[in-house]
Symmetry: C2
Subunit: 433 residues, 2 copies
């Protein structure tokens, strides 16, 4: 056959044997860029990595050593598929901070909340089923949804998050078309990437719509405890026990290296999640679970989270001040917590096309297209303020402004296609979550 051949066909002896779902797995073309972006001279405003230097490492080292020395034969052994009961108990205490009342039996411990997302998608999604998600939505969720051949329908947001009327309209339209809507995926607090938070009354409105339309809500909440002012917005799960699957994580409030997250689900759903998890990994890591349990028992974790909040508040302020100073031609969201702001660039600019030039100018971000299932988003970019110091954030935004000014000049001279078509971000590199 002449013309284009499918990539890898000639080199891959097993090409003809892959499952249908595998043909949707594409490597992100931006990986090479991110490899460049990880060089120390590049200011990365791309990553979602927490700033772990704020952790009491000596204490964690001691707690972990004590655990292995005294309980190693348990901590290094297989556990059960649902997760260790002691950690599940601690998780209910953590969630109580966000007004969630749950029993340890309701909790399923997972390999990061990414695995919880995978399990929820696995048990609910047949190819072609519809998942409602914010517009934009979390890149890692979109990649799971795609891997199960779901159709993602983006629902508009404003500065208060998901717009209820838009949600209702989308549901009515899809149902009229005979589509099977399986769940709404939402990050109501300190949204990734949008940086916005849904107020309580709007949460109630969204829950009402979903209840009426018999649509499950999957609430993803890794950032809820990272409000800059220490305030708490009650989780949607605290307002509806039977209609919400809640996903939590220690990755942003403690450390991602343990790969420990969890799901809280209505009883019957929780049973399916455990069975799916056992088929997939047998059981979550005892070493990680019991290390975290020992940490929570021994250390002032509430104080440590308060330290994290202060770090990220100061960095967010540096980000917002730099945007005002250097990027007055853009718009951005003003987060009250979490890791990200969502920036809209002037018309005609393509953030995908601009990314290689930004990297050359030693600054990195994630282009908005990563956060849509349908190729939208090239007028947006996500800037994260979680990892670099305030000084580096200012320097990064200053460099970005230089790149953007040149793009604007190019567009003014040669029109909006002057900057090239850009690249697709299909799958998350783990360092951009």
């Amino acid at each position: 056959m002449s013309g284009k051949s499918a990539p890898g066909t000639r080199l891959d002896r097993w090409f003809g044997a892959y499952a249908a779902r595998t043909h949707g797995l594409k490597s992100s073309e931006t990986r090479a860029l991110f490899a460049v972006a990880s060089r120390p001279e590049v200011v990365s405003l791309a990553g979602g990595m927490p700033f772990l230097d704020a952790l009491p490492m000596e204490i964690i080292a001691k707690v972990t050593a004590d655990l292995i020395a005294t309980e190693g034969a348990v901590a290094l052994q297989y556990g059960n598929g649902q997760g260790h009961p002691v950690l599940r108990g601690h998780i209910t205490e953590v969630m109580a901070e966000e007004a969630i009342q749950a029993h340890p039996d309701d909790v399923v411990v997972t390999t990061g909340s990414q695995q919880a997302l995978d399990l929820v998608t696995r048990i609910f999604i047949d190819p072609g089923d519809v998942i409602l998600a914010e517009s934009p939505s979390y890149v890692g969720a979109l990649s799971v949804f795609k891997s199960y051949e779901a159709w993602v329908e983006h629902v508009p947001m404003d500065d208060d998050g998901l717009v209820p009327q838009a949600l209702q309209d989308a549901i009515s339209r899809l149902k009229a078309e005979g589509r099977r809507i399986k769940f709404l995926y939402t990050i109501p607090t300190f949204h990734n990437p949008a940086g916005v938070t849904m107020p309580v009354d709007r949460r109630a409105e969204v829950l009402d719509i979903c209840h009426r339309e018999k649509i499950l809500v999957v609430e993803d909440n890794p950032y809820g405890m990272l409000a800059f002012d220490g305030s708490i917005t009650p989780a949607m799960r605290s307002m509806d026990e039977e209609g919400v699957v809640y996903l939590g994580s220690f990755s942003k409030t403690l450390a991602p290296g343990y790969r420990t997250g969890w799901a809280v689900a209505p009883h019957a759903v929780r049973e399916k999640l455990v069975l799916a998890s056992e088929a997939s990994i047998l059981c979550p890591s005892h070493a990680s679970q019991l290390s975290i349990a020992a940490y929570l028992e021994t250390c002032d974790w509430r104080g440590q989270i308060a330290d994290y909040r202060d770090v990220y508040r100061i960095r967010c302020e540096a980000m917002l001040e730099s945007l005002e100073e250097y990027l007055p031609q853009c718009r951005w969201t003003v987060p009250k917590g979490g890791f990200y702001t969502w920036v809209t660039v002037p018309e005609g600019i393509n953030t995908n096309a601009m990314l290689p030039r930004a990297t050359t100018a030693l600054v990195a971000y994630v282009s908005g297209t990563a956060f849509y299932a349908d190729g939208q988003g090239s007028r947006h970019m996500r800037l994260s303020f979680c990892y670099p110091t305030p000084e580096r954030i200012r320097e990064g935004v200053r460099r970005l402004a230089g790149v953007l000014d040149k793009e604007i000049d190019l567009v003014a001279m040669f029109g909006p296609h002057a900057t090239g078509p850009g690249r697709d971000v299909h799958f998350p590199a783990p360092d951009i979550v």
Copy 2:
């Protein structure tokens, strides 16, 4: 509707929303039995848990504490989807012990080899595709295969493992029926549950058949380094780089609590595995990976594995002697390594039906039906000798003999149905792997 309703329908608001694959997820009825079996007064010959008391816990505690104190900001951070390059390097050294030549780039680190199995199945299996597997086969693999709606075709074994002619016959028959065979799943060394090992010449024969028929071989090898005499049978991967996906694990040679295993795959397949893993868990645990790397760098891991071998050799001898003494009416395989022997009980006895009575008599095993996708196996049971002491093993087999004698009496008096139909084992409890 009158008549039987699907279980859970009335209690589960989301029952109608599950994916097709989820209806195959069934809870094992034997879970309650295993809960009973975990009481200390029960001798469990059911578990596949390694005997961790043989590990140098004080040293592991110190190595781990040093790691967190000096490199905590890396060890507790996100990693990349393929796994840490340093650990991948160590994994190639471990595999070199079994004659495998691989580059660190060929290795994908996973959340236990169970996740590797999940990923291989995910990228290759569409519903209805055929997987060839030994008869019997590993319960955890069967549960993954089932969760992706694969058809498992069992291929007969003898005391030298998979029978090549039977493999060829099965392939020819299935191809004549127009079935799509995706891969052969095999545990060639110290098979779980059969306890047997495929000699090198037979490995070559099986590889030849699969090469000729263009069928991928998935070689699962968690026990290969646990030969009682310290000998090594070359892995199938050492004989064929392009036709084999190899699965390895630290769960049996070091400790399962880290949930760290790996896959080695031809280049193009490896790329798909990494993408599928990123969608599923983002990245494997840095904490686990770097703890293991530090252990391998600091400790005499070859000596520790030699200690494990001695422990299991002595326990296997206790098992085989006890079987000779107490269960002369049964047949069993004679393992040269690993954790298990496969016992065949007299005709008319149903090991499923017998299990509750065995548990009441304070001894537990896994009924043979767990190791077949099609309900066979009720004349078999897997006895494991990895976890209890030699004294407990003898006591366990003695108790089992008492139970079996009563079953034989019952059958002699009332016929083979006197002992009841037994229960299905659908999914692995993590403690029986």
